[in-house]
């Protein structure tokens, strides 16, 4: 039993890193633009399928696949922000309800476009990030999943450092905190919005490329990841970067460990239940700072 617990916890930590990364991206976008990006998961899907397309070329290194994903999603995110979200932006904030519905429509479009182009079958990228597994006592940990964890944590760390210590990072936080004062400093809120959305989307896209060697991709995959991202953001707290990381791991562990007690298939309910619980008990999340009351 203890072994199971340790194993599932380890597994949960490995998936949790990814959830945290997704939550970070969503939080960034929300914190700065105040838009709930329902199409966040679809950016992951785009990243995943970019990797798959790269996999169809003679280039087999998964790192090139990740580069392709970054390129596609960054450009895509930029275009979405420029063409679709900018018209809805007033006084440095995106119209809350319309942004919600628009990104909903966008997720619909992207998911179905991918379905139309690639078909509904599960697809996979040939090759792996790392072969084999580590064996610790009775525990078998796939190296690939460890690589994904390491990459997620590294990217998250880079992002937090960027936001803390670079002028552009501080400008992004400034726009999120007080767009009017930011403009008074000469910061272009429009450009920061574009950058932020592209950055947040790229985080999702990279996640997509990272997981394709390990799991299958299919057109509808985006939405469940959007759900994970929302759950992480709610549990960690809207606007809190550390909260998103922490919540990512918590969610990953909770979901993974629950397999021990719940009948199979039911562990998918852990996320929604945790989100509901947090919304009812403490809507600002564990570390959140933004106002949540109507």
């Amino acid at each position: 039993m203890l072994l199971d617990l340790v194993y599932f916890t380890a597994l949960g930590i490995m998936t949790g890193g990814l959830y945290g990364l997704l939550g970070l991206g969503l939080n960034l976008i929300f914190g700065v633009m105040r838009v709930i990006n329902v199409s966040h998961g679809e950016m992951l899907t785009l990243g995943a399928y970019s990797a798959i397309v790269m996999g169809m070329t003679p280039v087999t290194s998964p790192w090139f696949a990740i580069a392709a994903a970054v390129l596609v999603v960054t450009v895509g995110g930029f275009l979405v922000a420029r063409l679709l979200l900018q018209p809805l932006t007033v006084d440095g904030r995106v119209h809350e309800q319309r942004g919600l519905v628009l990104t909903l429509g966008l997720s619909f479009v992207v998911a179905n476009l991918i379905l139309a182009i690639f078909g509904p079958e599960y697809q996979k990228v040939p090759g792996q990030l790392a072969q084999g597994a580590y064996t610790v006592g009775d525990l078998v940990l796939e190296k690939q999943r460890l690589v994904i964890l390491a990459a997620s944590v590294a990217i998250a760390a880079l992002l937090m450092l960027f936001l803390r210590y670079t002028l552009t990072g501080r400008a992004i936080r400034a726009v999120g905190e007080n767009p009017e004062a930011a403009q008074a400093c000469g910061i272009s809120v429009r450009r920061i919005h574009l950058l932020t959305f592209a950055l947040g989307s790229t985080l999702a896209g990279v996640s997509g490329a990272l997981i394709t060697p390990a799991t299958y991709a299919m057109p509808a995959m985006g939405f469940s990841y959007t759900l994970y991202a929302f759950t992480v953001v709610i549990i960690g707290g809207l606007g809190s970067m550390w909260g998103a990381l922490l919540a990512g791991f918590l969610l990953g562990i909770a979901e993974s460990v629950s397999v021990i007690w719940l009948p199979s298939g039911y562990n998918a309910i852990v996320g929604p239940i945790l989100m509901l619980a947090m919304l009812i008990v403490r809507p600002q999340g564990l570390l959140g700072r933004l106002s949540v009351r109507a």
């Binding site: 002028l167 501080r170 004062a181 403009q183 008074a184 400093c185």
Partner: protein, 245 residues
């Protein structure tokens, strides 16, 4: 040079602007001469803050123009006007409480490319406002009202502006702090910065201003030196309506 012979630094001409469909400002005009402190007063709802937003660029006027140093800047977004030398401190919280004092100042110099220039200006600001030097690494959210105003002024100075627009700088401050703030304003004017100040505290404003514009319901009502406007009854009529007290 006499006050009304100095070149025009900033000017709004026949501005009509508002929110949604309604026009808050109707054909308003305001002139700030170089090197002067120009005030704007008026009862609540007169459109003072709206005027400032038009001048800084947050709102596009539906009619009329804004000129700075002779150039038409009506089409420019706020960040471009800042680049041209206009500075703005809003009524409330024109800084970033979640970042440190030092980072706030550095954000003020966002458009300054040269690291040397930035460093020199930061040193100058910290010298001018010792309280900020003391609290360099503290979060700006911890500052008191007066200290925050100093931070806003410091942030503004990092851009070495030619003209500063202040929206009710005395709000929420003790009388002593208000004097300190206006003392700084006077000093900065000596150093060559022009000011446009919206104020509710008419007395304090009149003590420093060269020229004052009085607004009412989005239109110009009066304009002149503080002495001329202090004349009996004129201001009472402005604030209390025709028929006086």
């Amino acid at each position: 040079m006499a006050a009304n012979e100095a070149p025009v630094a900033l000017e709004a001409r026949a501005v009509t602007a508002g929110y949604g469909g309604s026009a808050v400002l109707q054909g308003l005009g305001v002139t700030v001469r170089a090197g002067s402190i120009t005030g704007v007063i008026g009862p609540n709802g007169a459109g003072k803050s709206t005027l400032l937003k038009v001048l800084v660029g947050y709102i596009r006027p539906s009619a009329g123009t804004v000129h700075f140093g002779g150039e038409d800047i009506t089409r420019l977004p706020p960040e471009e006007r800042i680049r041209c030398g206009v500075a703005y401190i809003a009524q409330q919280r024109s800084y970033f409480p979640s970042q440190s004092v030092a980072d706030n100042l550095r954000l003020g110099a966002y458009l300054v490319r040269d690291a040397g220039v930035r460093a020199r200006r930061e040193a100058a600001v910290l010298e001018r406002f010792p309280v900020l030097a003391e609290r360099r690494h503290q979060l700006a959210g911890m500052l008191s009202g007066g200290e925050a105003r100093m931070l806003e002024l410091g942030r503004m100075l990092m851009m070495a502006p030619r003209l500063a627009i202040l929206d009710e700088p005395s709000i929420g401050l003790s009388p002593r702090m208000i004097d300190v703030v206006y003392g700084q304003v006077r000093r900065l004017r000596e150093e060559g910065i022009s000011f446009l100040i919206v104020e509710q505290n008419v007395r304090k404003l009149f003590a420093v201003a060269d020229q004052v514009f009085a607004l009412d319901s989005g239109r110009n009502r009066l304009a002149g030196s503080p002495a001329a406007l202090s004349a009996e009854g004129v201001l009472a009529e402005l604030y209390l309506g025709p028929g006086g007290a």
